[in-house]
């Protein structure tokens, strides 16, 4: 890997603000972003990225390749948790294994946004439909996790009826606020076309990097707290948090090569495969899979996998793609 790619990423404002947030927690500073402000920042980022993706989709149009990539992305989100689940079942019960597997099968919108920021800085093109792919990869992992737990309980004869119907579960998996906002903004960006883009550009494009920095400052504060929570974890879960992302990202790169994607799109697909959800999926899991312990899956995805991906992961995956794609 070209060390300058890694250095440039580590010295970019979003990553440095993330590091500042972590430092603030470690030195017990009183620096904090009020929760309501952090929520507003996350709403902005999802709206901006969704709208931008919709506008790009409007320009490029929908064709067979787009539909194929979207289908593969959704399918991957349904299959990836199965791989993670069977690895995790060697040490954990069905609910905890499924909860973690669901997070790692789904995606991290902020990691994806950070990867877009990386591509923008490097002036590497990517397709707007990758944002739709991200939105489609949020939910299938949750449904797979529920199926895995139900199969496990049936096999052990401990099946229970806790009142959660399939309809309720699918509703919780799909109607999550983050997913709804992302898909809705994507649709609005697509429908409003070039005129809509010109109207919204001052809001969704120009301040994007600066607001990402603010949000990552907050994420750094929160992630550092979760690293403290990790002290009681065994080596197995810590290893899973650090090994699963590059392995899954490598799978994403192989799939991207098979689909003939551009380097920019390949990086985004690798990040989608290799990232773990810590916002949308944990919120849905608390409703549809309450027996899964959030004190396992949130610190793993937020405290280890997220920092790993945005600091070393993105440049590493890009180096792999650069090596593979260069004739």
């Amino acid at each position: 890997m070209d060390p300058t790619v890694l250095t440039q990423n580590l010295l970019s404002p979003p990553i440095l603000f993330f590091a500042l947030g972590m430092l603030a927690t470690w030195v017990r500073s009183d620096l904090m972003i009020p929760p309501a402000a952090a929520k507003a920042l996350s709403i902005y980022l999802l709206l901006a990225i969704g709208f931008h993706g919709g506008a790009e989709l409007h320009r490029s149009g929908l064709d067979g390749t787009v539909v194929l990539v979207l289908g593969v992305a959704a399918l991957a989100s349904a299959i990836l948790p199965v791989l993670g689940y069977f690895v995790l079942r060697s040490r954990l019960g069905p609910a905890d294994a499924a909860g973690i597997a669901a997070c790692y099968g789904s995606v991290s919108a902020v990691t994806f946004i950070t990867a877009i920021s990386f591509l923008d800085r490097a002036e590497i093109a990517y397709s707007g439909y990758m944002i739709a792919a991200m939105a489609l990869m949020e939910s299938p992992a949750i449904i797979t996790a529920i199926i895995l737990v139900r199969i496990a309980h049936r096999d052990t004869g401990t099946a229970t009826r806790n009142g959660s119907t399939w309809r309720t579960m699918i509703h919780e998996a799909m109607a999550n606020g983050a997913i709804l906002l992302l898909l809705g903004s994507l649709l609005i960006g697509y429908l409003s076309g070039e005129q809509g883009w010109e109207t919204m550009k001052p809001l969704v494009k120009d301040p994007f990097q600066a607001i990402l920095c603010l949000f990552l400052l907050d994420m750094g504060i929160v992630a550092a707290r979760r690293i403290v929570d990790l002290r009681r974890f065994g080596a197995f879960l810590i290893a899973f948090s650090l090994v699963a992302p590059p392995v899954q990202a490598a799978l994403g790169i192989i799939v991207a090569a098979m689909l003939g994607l551009s380097p920019g799109d390949a990086l985004l697909l690798a990040v989608l495969f290799g990232s773990a959800s810590y916002i949308a999926v944990p919120a849905a899991l608390r409703l549809v899979l309450p027996k899964a312990n959030p004190s396992l899956y949130v610190p793993m995805s937020l405290g280890l996998t997220f920092p790993l991906n945005i600091t070393i992961g993105i440049p590493l995956y890009f180096a792999m793609i650069d090596w593979w794609w260069t004739p």
């Binding site: 929760p35 504060i221 707290r225 919120a283 608390r286 309450p290 312990n293 949130v298 937020l302």
Partner: protein, 99 residues
């Protein structure tokens, strides 16, 4: 000054389940409650830092003062939720200052 004997019910659930808990309380005939949102704590689910945008690590605290029969209905309504999703519920005697 008149003090009327009541039951004080304190419930802690995670924020994601707050609206369901409130629905159950109302269906059980609870005619008044106070909610403290964004509550931090520590328990079976580890640290609840109350600092994430998802609300996963944030609790909510519900305070109810009710006559004994209404409090019993509230407890019957909230128990299945606590069994499924976790949380705590405490009941104690108190006095309500009539005004």
């Amino acid at each position: 000054m008149t003090l009327r004997p009541m039951k004080r019910v304190e419930i802690v659930v995670d924020t994601l389940h707050l609206s369901r808990a409130i629905d159950r309380l109302r269906q059980a005939g609870c005619d008044g409650y106070t909610v403290l949102p964004n509550v931090a704590g520590y328990g079976d689910r580890g640290d609840q830092h109350a600092d994430e945008v998802s609300g996963v690590s944030t609790n909510a605290y519900i305070l109810i003062a009710a006559p004994a029969d209404q409090a019993e209905a509230v407890l019957d309504a909230i128990r299945p939720m606590l069994q499924s999703y976790g949380g705590i519920c405490l009941v104690s005697d108190c006095y309500w200052l009539e005004h």
